[in-house]
């Protein structure tokens, strides 16, 4: 669906892959700007890893094994795929919220770009592409850690990797859409709280089946739950048709987020 929608835009507006690449290329160039950005990049990788070690492995020693879908899993094996999904989410969000907002509102990077043939939708795609690259570096490293710690078999861990890319795309699109609505930095506190709530309750640390029904329904509607289920299903080697539903949810999120972000960019910057 998303591909047909994007294909339709390519046809009608003649989206240019070269221009989308140029928007991504700007961010690659900015990597050489100095150590500050690298520090942020590295810290983004360690956060989910520290949670995995402290809660997955540490608390896991107290919890013991967990029955999941008719199988019994060590707690760390249950938590690890969730942290993988979280790392895909935070990688994409940090790029498409803080950095995107800063470029849009303060650095006026997008104003400069929009004076060239590049269109708002191409900016959105280029920024999303870059967020994906950054997120994939995190998730790639995390997958290696999971395999090294014996928390997933190499084949299933590799199968989960493309799923993390879809998670990154979905949260990247959502992040951009949210950024175009931000009034100032104070709104980022709200975003951080929301992100933390998702992190805690999306079936990350305990199965949602244990929640009361209304809470469970609410949680199941949130994007991180959908992501965790998709990534976990693959990582623990328990694929089922339900994974397709989770994937479809995320694909819809990509399409909606991208179109909304591009429209808002146009409305805010092209006046």
């Amino acid at each position: 669906m998303v591909t047909t929608m994007i294909a339709a835009r390519v046809a009608s507006d003649r989206l240019s892959p070269a221009r989308i690449g140029a928007v991504m290329g700007r961010n690659v160039g900015a990597l050489r700007s100095g150590p500050a950005y690298w520090l942020v990049l590295v810290s983004g990788f360690f956060e989910p890893l520290l949670y995995l070690l402290s809660i997955g492995v540490g608390v896991g020693a107290l919890v013991g094994d967990l029955p999941v879908g008719g199988r019994t899993l060590p707690y760390a094996t249950f938590v690890a795929p969730a942290m993988l999904a979280v790392s895909a989410m935070s990688g994409a969000l940090s790029e498409t919220t803080y950095n995107f907002f800063f470029k849009m509102k303060y650095m006026k990077t997008f104003d400069a770009i929009l004076a060239t043939p590049v269109r708002p939708f191409e900016i959105a795609l280029g920024e999303l592409g870059w967020a994906m690259v950054r997120g994939s570096v995190y998730t790639g490293a995390f997958v290696i850690v999971m395999i090294a710690l014996g928390l997933a078999t190499p084949l299933w861990a590799l199968a989960a990797f493309p799923a993390t890319m879809l998670v990154g795309l979905a949260f990247g699109s959502l992040g951009m859409a949210i950024s175009t609505l931000m009034r100032g930095w104070q709104d980022f506190d709200l975003l951080a709280s929301g992100q933390f709530a998702l992190f805690l309750f999306s079936g990350t640390f305990s199965p949602v089946a244990d929640y009361p029904l209304p809470v469970r329904v609410l949680v199941e509607a949130t994007p991180l739950y959908q992501s965790v289920e998709l990534v976990r299903g693959l990582a623990i080697g328990d694929p089922g048709w339900s994974l397709l539903a989770h994937a479809a949810y995320l694909v819809a999120m990509v399409a909606a987020g991208l179109l909304f972000a591009a429209r808002r960019l146009e409305r805010v910057l092209c006046v």
């Binding site: 140029a22 700007r26 700007s33 400069a112 004076a115 043939p117 590049v118 092209c270 006046v271």
Partner: protein
Amino acid sequence: MSEQPLIRARGLVKRFGDFTAVDGIDIDVAPGEAFGFLGPNGAGKSSTMRMIGCVSLPTAGELRILGMDPAREGAAIRGRLGVCPQLDNLDPDLNVRENLTTYARYFGISRPEARRRARELLEFVQLADRAGSKVEPLSGGMKRRLTIARAMVNDPDIVLLDEPTTGLDPQARHLLWERLFQLKRRGTTLVLTTHYMDEAEQLCDRLVVMDGGRIVAQGSPRSLIAAHSTPEVVELRFGDERPAGLAGKLAGIGERVDPLPDRVLVYAADGDAATAEVHRRGLTPSSVLVRRSTLEDVFLHLTGRTLVD
């Protein structure tokens, strides 16, 4: 080609909600011309520039740039424009050279070609020795020159400059004017906005004076001065006395007397003769300055207000 204007606007309007920023203007800019929008802040110059730059669509009226319609062919038009915005939006995450090479990529220019052009343009704006420097430590004048180099990276047919020297010190302004003059000599079409009359006189072949979203006069700087002012102006200051009270005593001298809050302007063909008449009437100004008429006087005459306040 030469008879077809590069920019043609008829009844061009831009509204933001209830506010009308540009209120039905007509413009024709010919190839190779240096065309200026002169007016105070809020006159509608920048809104007009953003419409010509195809980032903002007109609310009403007709606009053709390079013979194309901004609403349908915006990207194609922008590919042939160079834009130097009022506020520098150089990329602080990139160095001086990368600001040009990265920008070139947005126009689909290949990497080797982008590097070649960056080298050439940095020579042109005299920043070659700062190619590897960050943007942030550059002076205001250097940043503006870099922005102009960036606007040239796609070898544009038209360069749009929104208040190119606002906020620069006199030396930096003169260096910039000299570079812009070189561009003009190469045949590049320049469209600029300014609220400095000396800038308009230095750079523009033709200009329109804007006020409140409308064009109030147009022509070459010389013809505007000839049409709306006298060859010379005498500026009289009277120490403690309020200029308004003196207007009566000065009546009839020269062609027109204009009392301002801090001084009285006497418009005359012959400034020295007018000064002699002031003294003959027994008035003793604390200072007298006879000067040539400028666009500032034209603007004052047309709108009753000064340009920079």
